[in-house]
Homo-oligomer: 333 residues x 2
DNA sequence: TTGTAAGCGTTATCAT
DNA sequence: ATGATAACGCTTACAA
């Protein structure tokens, strides 16, 4: 098994290997019932499996897609991977999953490896580094779609959340309930990451629109492992009455802190998290979240990529695809 | 980019392609400083990337591993995938992730596709179907490692939790606190799945050892979407004072039910879940879990697979690798 | 309707 | 120290 080739089948069926190849590719048009049967029997008997590597070399298509996530620890990444696996599988593709761990260097290595392995396309959550590389790929018309982030200088199709709206939905929700001292916490990374930047910008904008004062003290961007101490400072300092957790990781830290201090949500602190989390609905109290429509995002991205691969994609169309967040109103604010 | 081959490099550097190949494979031994420089420059200039598909065809190694999970919805699967990606990446392999969705048919298609794509090895959470296929692979000495499940008739290395111990740890913990009416709920699938069977068996055994009566009414195996109604019946029926959720999906349903009914944990109901969940530590109350050492399991599995691939694996050694669960004692019982 | 032969981009063997 | 040449297993004109 695996060892046996089209030649063995040809011999077994006493036909030429090109005939077998025809058979394999379902080109029965000019094939006699008899040969067809012989070949089928030979394949069955030898338990033949075509070598797709050889086929790929010839056809210049591997039917595999590279997926590079910025950081696999986010539930969003995982969710997207699951959905991509499903959609691409339906389209006859396998996916190679790579994790950049927020490091541009690892991202670059992954991209180069994927290209070397001749994947038919790449879906990436770009770290923000490697713009040059993506530029080269774009210029050579290599199929790429970005998810979650975009690179402003490149018209690569990017499928992402309307982050400004996400933040403002949260702020508006808070304000409606009477919260006045609203803070936002996001985890920082070296690179300027689209969702972080946009969520921060949206937050400021929304506060402004609501006529609330904006101070830098209400806006914190720190590494995940510093989130707790940051909240601690925040609580001592400006005493916010509501906090927006900019993603699922931050939300966890926030909830840990709340429990550690015995705070009551929403009485002592209003909480909203961006990114839906599995426990939100049965938490005490249920946590309100701003959900990214990950399913739609993954579907859109895979659809565009498949179109690019089959040259069906109109590159003159818009390159940014925004999806509206969904507010899951629960009882945490 | 991608379009240019070793021939182009050879021409650019005015050497033969075999020399370039030597260079690419770091066989500098008999190579003059000069040619080395020329080739390096040409590669740089042309931005050459070797075609690994062609290399794979020749070398019969793709440096990629197929990973087939039974069902990607479990946090355990996701956790394992993340760890495998990391370990294999360190060893120079990429992973192709496939989801069988608990369907043997899909599993079979995935295996066949992976074999056709000439992966160097497979890590699988076998659904329980396709024993024949695995048998063939095993007999042809194809590198495979199972995670989470085993197939009794096949000596394929299998890395999994000591499920008996996991159940008994839970039962013992419950008993120690005075619980008497202990039930277990697992989600059923058609096939006889190792962890389910073993956790159920371990549960019965532990009850026996504790001198508690065993009735089939305390043991429920139903599809996830029927878990809630099953608990409902259970509560009306035998009124358990403690429930062991056999995995993370069941735990979620259980917690949903508890919240819906306004039950108090642990006063009204003791709860332990097998599988660690992200929210366990800051839930109200913190949920006790029996954690699978996913990191160790993934490491062990990848290590064995890599050994098999490089013929370093002693197949006469044991084929079942058990890992001890870890009880995270929190306040839910 | 089926077979021959070239070619995909490498690596590997063997000359030179 | 470097180059010709034959594989690797398949597809695809083109011949027959």
């Amino acid at each position: 098994m695996g060892r046996i080739t089209i030649n063995d089948v040809a011999k077994e069926a006493s036909v030429s290997k090109s005939t077998v190849s025809q058979f394999l590719n379902n080109r029965y048009e000019y094939m006699s019932e008899e040969t067809r049967g012989k070949i089928a029997k030979a394949i069955e008997k030898l338990n033949y499996q075509p070598n797709i590597v050889a086929r790929s070399l010839k056809q210049k298509s591997t039917k595999t897609i590279g997926v590079i996530v910025a950081n696999i620890v986010h539930t969003f990444s995982t969710h997207i991977i699951n959905q991509l696996e499903m959609h691409f599988h339906e389209q006859g593709f396998n996916i190679m999953v790579c994790n950049a761990g927020d490091e541009p260097k690892r991202e670059r290595e992954h991209i180069e490896m994927l290209i070397a392995k001749q994947v038919d396309g790449i879906i990436a959550f770009p770290t923000g580094g490697n713009i040059d590389l993506y530029k080269r790929l774009y210029e050579s018309r290599f199929p790429i779609v970005f998810i979650d982030r975009k690179i402003d200088s490149l018209p690569i199709p990017s499928v992402l959340l309307d982050n400004l709206l996400a933040s403002s939905m949260a702020v508006d929700a808070f304000v409606k309930k009477g919260y006045k001292q609203i803070a936002i916490i996001t985890n920082s990374i070296d690179q300027p990451i689209t969702p972080r930047i946009e969520r921060l910008a949206g937050f400021k904008e929304a506060l402004e629109k609501q006529g609330l004062p904006i101070t830098e003290q209400h806006i914190k961007a720190v590494p995940v492992d510093e989130v707790q101490e940051t909240i601690e400072m925040l609580m001592k300092d400006i005493k916010p009455d509501a906090i927006l957790a900019a993603n699922d990781r931050v939300l966890i830290e926030l909830l840990r802190y709340v429990r550690k201090k015995g705070l009551k949500i929403p009485q002592d602190l209003g909480v909203i998290g961006i990114d839906e989390v599995p426990y939100a609905s049965f938490f005490e109290p249920p946590i309100s979240t701003i959900e990214q429509p990950a399913d739609q995002i993954a579907l859109q991205a895979s659809t565009i990529l498949v179109k690019q691969i089959s040259n069906q994609y109109e590159s003159n169309s818009q390159s940014i695809y925004r999806f509206d967040p969904l507010l899951n109103e629960r009882q945490s604010y």
